[in-house]
Amino acid sequence: MNNLKIKKSSIRLVIALKEEAQVILNYFRLKPVNEKTIYPIYKNEEETHWLIISGIGRSNAAASTAYLYSYSKASIYTSWINIGIAGSDKGNYGDLYLVDKISTYQRKTSTYPSTMPKATLPKMHLFTSDIPISDYTSYELIDMEGSAFFDIASKLTSKEFICLMKVISDGPKNDIKEMTKSKISNLIKVNLFKIIDVVSYYERISEAEFLIIDKPELFNDIKSKWHFSATQSFKLETLLRRIENFCNKKDIEKIIKNCETSSSVINVLNLKIKNNLVNWSKF
């Protein structure tokens, strides 16, 4: 029955700089939204993928994440992805890392993002700083937005739907002062297919959740024919989810067609469940 439903994933990308975002904007064919917004926002035609340019720093990352949530009407099953450059003396220049631990100066405790399973990408501990750091020795990865992005995104969805990816751009051997716009763009570009691979995992889990929470096929049809209170609507939804596993649409329509009230619809569906003998050999 699920394959009749419209497949729809939901992705929100939060990226600090336009130079970091450009190749991603191109890949997903994201276009600027047609109105003035506090932060630059882009979206695809289907409105499944949205991207915001947050600017540098924790305040911008937090504010833009919350702003994009509200502006794009994201759901709890939307995946949130932060992509950007980071400093490090532990990894190699140009390599892409997933983040599985985040620390800051401000907080004693760390936070622990989930990472996609079976990822071939290496993982690192991210330190988010409010000021540029030139001493790289104490940390694995250093950025200026990650912790704030994660803190806000964690309030919007489960941590399994949040991802942080960082490309190493500077370190003891690659002075931050020598970074140019084109170098930044290029760092993302050379990792684009790895990034897309990660994004596609988050597209899949988001889509899978939407399929699960999608209303049963007959729900709206039935609701349009009888008047259901909020409690009855919930009961109807639950009963239909249970019944549609062993009863097809036509049969359900047949058993309720003579019902005069919403209560009798619920009673008839309850009876259908009550009399069901599960055929375990089918599953």
Binding site: N2, D100, K101, T109, S110, Y112, S114, T115, P117, K118, K123, H125, S154, K155, T157, S158, K159, E160, F161, I205, E209, I212, T238, R241, R242, I243, N245, F246, N270, I273, K274, N275, N276, L277, V278, N279, W280, S281, K282, F283
Partner: protein
């Protein structure tokens, strides 16, 4: 394959932490302050976590041994349980652990010695009382034994206190440490069972019923005491034939001299827990069963429950005595 292991700072050098970590050489180790930073936090997706759970190694501070819920016993006047682990490597659709914690990650408490102390205290406080301890209420008692070695560790206490019973309840086919030890009369190896057809659909990631029966048979023939736990009893088409086949298969393959006890339990979910589990897995066949709200619990109606329990009990009475049969009613 466990990809990530979180280790509490305070136990990072504990010998048992090192012992466990040696078994996961390819996993990424992340140091944490408290297991609560990862486990049971809000905003976690249980279903996604369950497909790829992490392991957390932690130090348990209190609540090592607790009184068992009423209706959980097998004849003793006082029943207690302890859990060295939270969550289970199996994914059984009727299991209360799906709604118990918001996280599907596994927590292992490495300070086994604190469990020893708490168990001994209870034994010494309850002299002349028949006691039974249940190992692993919040997990499968033996499924992760090859990683933790907890059963092997805890058995040493019950070698000393031979009048005190301990039950390990499991769906695993883990034979060690029992297979290489001399049988102990106060140890019950209790196996959760249901007809294979139902188990195939409901006991995700758990060993098949036939493999479980084969291990039960081996351990029984070595002289270990066996408990059979038909809990929950599952309703459906041909349930009588399916349970008859299962019960006869077991009783004909196991020396009934080794049977310590048999218990039957009905399928019951607290209302809130059912709501959570149904939300996680709305398309599961189990939820197409005739389950409804009865006395604040989601269950089969009382007629189905009684019919199933008495049918299975009567069949069992052909092989065992009435005093070996218990009803599990939690």
């Amino acid at each position: 394959m466990i990809e990530t292991i979180y280790v509490e700072e305070v136990i990072k050098n504990h010998p048992r932490t090192k012992f466990i970590l040696k078994k996961f050489k390819k996993s990424r180790i992340i140091l944490i302050d408290k297991y609560g930073e990862i486990f049971n936090k809000r905003n976690q997706n249980f279903r996604i976590q369950k497909s790829n759970p992490c392991l957390i190694l932690a130090h348990k501070k209190d609540g090592f041994v607790l009184p068992a819920p009423e209706g959980f016993g097998i004849g003793s006047s006082k029943n207690f349980y302890f859990s060295h682990m939270y969550n289970c490597i199996y994914d059984c659709r009727y299991c209360f652990l799906q709604g118990m914690y918001s996280s599907a990650n596994y927590v292992i408490f490495v300070n086994f010695e604190d469990f020893d102390i708490a168990i001994k205290k209870i034994i010494e406080k309850n002299v002349n009382t028949k006691l039974t301890f249940f190992s692993g209420y919040d997990c499968d008692s033996l499924a992760f034994e090859n990683v933790t070695g907890f059963a092997k560790h805890i058995l040493s206490i019950f070698k000393t206190y031979t009048q005190i019973e301990i039950e390990f309840r499991t769906k695993s086919i883990q034979k060690q440490p029992f297979f290489s030890l001399k049988p102990m009369k106060n140890v019950i190896l209790a196996y959760s069972l249901m007809p294979e057809l139902m188990s195939n659909s409901l006991d995700n990631k758990a060993p098949s019923i036939s493999r479980r029966i084969s291990v039960i048979s081996e351990l029984a023939s070595k002289g270990w005491k066996i408990g059979l736990r038909f809990d929950p009893l599952i309703h459906g088409e041909n349930w009588k034939e399916l349970y008859k086949e299962l019960l006869e298969n077991i009783y004909n393959n196991i020396s009934t001299d080794c049977l310590h006890s048999v218990s039957f339990g009905t399928l019951r979910f607290p209302k809130r827990m059912f709501k959570d589990i149904f939300k996680l897995y709305p398309n599961e066949p189990l939820f197409t069963s005739p389950l409804s709200l009865n006395n604040k619990m989601i269950s089969y109606n009382i007629e189905i429950e009684e019919e199933m329990t008495s049918y299975c009990k009567n069949l069992s009475l052909r092989y065992i005595n009435e005093d070996q049969i218990f009803k599990c009613s939690i």
